[in-house]
């Protein structure tokens, strides 16, 4: 039984030495597009150093990120679905929403372009043609910001998509691009994730430039009156940092293979 005693002792030591307890932590729920693209890896370290804290990034879809804010399991959310964000603030779950940056959505498709939509500037009409041609379309199907936008576009096209050509993946943007590549289908993606995936997919941008594809990101602090444990000071500093000159310069300076992913409003 000596071994058990020793291991128990060791475990208690380990628990006490757990680095997770050392610094102040700010919990940030955000979307896969900001994290997987590598933006946060550039953006967060200067903030962490300046404030001697650690930002814990939980990268999920916009829908889930907002849910985590509602339950108070995070301090700040950084998401991209204006309709959901406004609801989140209106219902008193979040306060102090600020515009952070924007990019745009694009419709990706195979080079063969079976629906014949390449070069179109009307996203809703292009989706209509995809449905008419019953060409494969891979949907996120996960209540993410991109999925929310896709549903809005289908609504604008007056179509409720269903059938064997419409695949609801229920996965992140990267997986959906991979799936659409393998199946030779179309999909809606944010431009950032597409650029990050450019070398790994055969899909090309077939539709871009529609005002309906504008993709703004907002940051919201979880309402401390609802959840008293929210780290108000640190969260306020974080909101300030993202919208400061330093934060904006880092966002606009972020490049993947020479291409700019995110823009800020002047």
């Amino acid at each position: 039984m000596k071994i058990v005693q020793k291991t128990l002792f060791l475990m208690v030591l380990l628990l006490m030495a757990s680095p997770a307890l050392a610094k102040e932590h700010l919990r940030l729920a955000t979307t896969t597009s900001t994290d997987n693209s590598g933006l946060l890896a550039e953006l967060l370290p200067p903030f962490e150093q300046a404030n001697d804290c650690q930002v814990d990034v939980i990268a999920v879809g916009t829908g889930k990120a907002i849910k985590l804010g509602e339950t108070g399991d995070v301090d700040v959310v950084l998401v991209h679905a204006r309709s959901l964000e406004d609801k989140f603030v209106a219902e008193g779950f979040g306060v102090d929403r600020r515009d952070v940056m924007y990019n745009d959505f694009v419709i990706l498709g195979p080079a063969a372009d079976p629906a014949g939509i390449a070069g179109s500037k009307n996203a809703a009409a292009a989706l209509g043609k995809i449905a008419a041609a019953t060409a494969t379309f891979v949907s996120r199907g996960d209540d993410s910001g991109t999925h929310t936008r896709e549903k809005q576009l289908w609504k604008a096209a007056a179509i409720s998509p269903s059938g064997s050509w419409y695949l609801e993946a229920g996965r992140g943007m990267g997986e959906v691009i991979t799936m659409a590549t393998e199946r030779g289908g179309y999909t809606l993606s944010d431009r950032g994730t597409y650029l990050a995936y450019k070398t790994k997919t055969d899909l090309k941008i077939v539709v871009e430039g529609d005002p309906g594809l504008f993709n703004p990101y907002g940051v919201i602090m979880v309402n401390p009156q609802r959840h008293s444990h929210v780290k108000v000071d640190l969260a306020k500093k974080f909101l300030g940092y993202l919208t400061s000159t330093q934060g904006r310069d880092l966002i606009t300076g972020f490049r993947i293979s020479g291409e700019q992913l995110f823009y800020v409003q002047q």
Binding site: L8, M11, L15, A20, H25, V57, A59, G72, G172, H229
Partner: protein, 228 residues
């Protein structure tokens, strides 16, 4: 072929460059699964011994329940404890969600039934006379149980190893309760899931190879312990 070769080279590169993030992921994996295995041993071994040696009505039902718990999907455990640890849940004020402690709790729930079941099987396979003889020779019940434990130590070790195997390899609980936070709750398996979702298949596979290597080392260590 080049894909697999690339992953192998990448794995070797990662190991020998002592990449900080990879080291943190290995450490988090070992730390959480290690603690969870230990806790599930503390709960599962006595439970298995008790179920194996005592006779009471409802015992068969208890064993069937225990067997069913072995089939618990990791996401179900994740979901249950998520509700428990979330700020909205009964244990919310503790703020445990998205910490290593929440992962340890979830993995303990996963591993304990396996440990208990395999210990129970080992007891069933042991000579029934061990306990009786010990009791006749004047041992207390606790001493008799200790004697039984010595006799079936290989089976107990196998149970602990199986429990460790399940938790170090699972991704559902680690992802849902840990949140895959870099340098904090990112384990080998959630890192693999992340790299796969980013399309970095070679990198993901490289991490997979490291995970396998780490599991091999742990089992070698346990094997040595067993032979003493």
């Amino acid at each position: 072929m080049s894909y697999l070769l690339d992953s192998l080279l990448k794995a070797l590169e990662l190991i020998f460059s002592f990449d900080h993030e990879v080291r943190m992921a290995v450490w988090t994996s070992l730390y959480t699964s290690g603690c969870a295995t230990l806790l599930s041993g503390l709960a599962g071994i006595p439970l298995g011994l008790w179920l194996g040696t005592s006779r009471f009505s409802g015992r068969r039902l208890a064993i069937t329940l225990l067997n069913t718990l072995m089939a618990l999907p990791t996401v179900v455990v994740g979901l249950l404890l998520f509700g428990l640890f979330s700020r909205q849940g009964p244990l919310g004020p503790l703020g445990l969600l998205f910490t290593p402690l929440a992962m340890i709790a979830g993995q303990t729930v996963l591993a304990a039934p396996i440990v208990a079941n395999l210990v129970l099987a080992a007891v069933a396979g042991a000579d029934e006379r061990i306990i009786k003889t010990a009791l006749t020779l004047g041992a207390t019940r606790l001493q008799a149980a200790h004697q039984l434990l010595r006799e079936i130590r290989f089976g107990v070790m196998a149970a602990v190893i199986a429990g460790f195997g399940r938790v170090v390899a699972e991704v559902g609980v680690a992802m849902m309760l840990g949140g895959n936070i870099r340098n904090s709750t990112r384990t080998m398996t959630t890192a693999i899931a992340l790299e796969t979702s980013k399309g970095e298949f070679a990198f993901g596979l490289a991490l997979g190879m490291i995970l396998l290597g780490v599991a091999l080392l742990v089992n070698l260590g346990l094997n040595l312990l067993q032979q003493r």
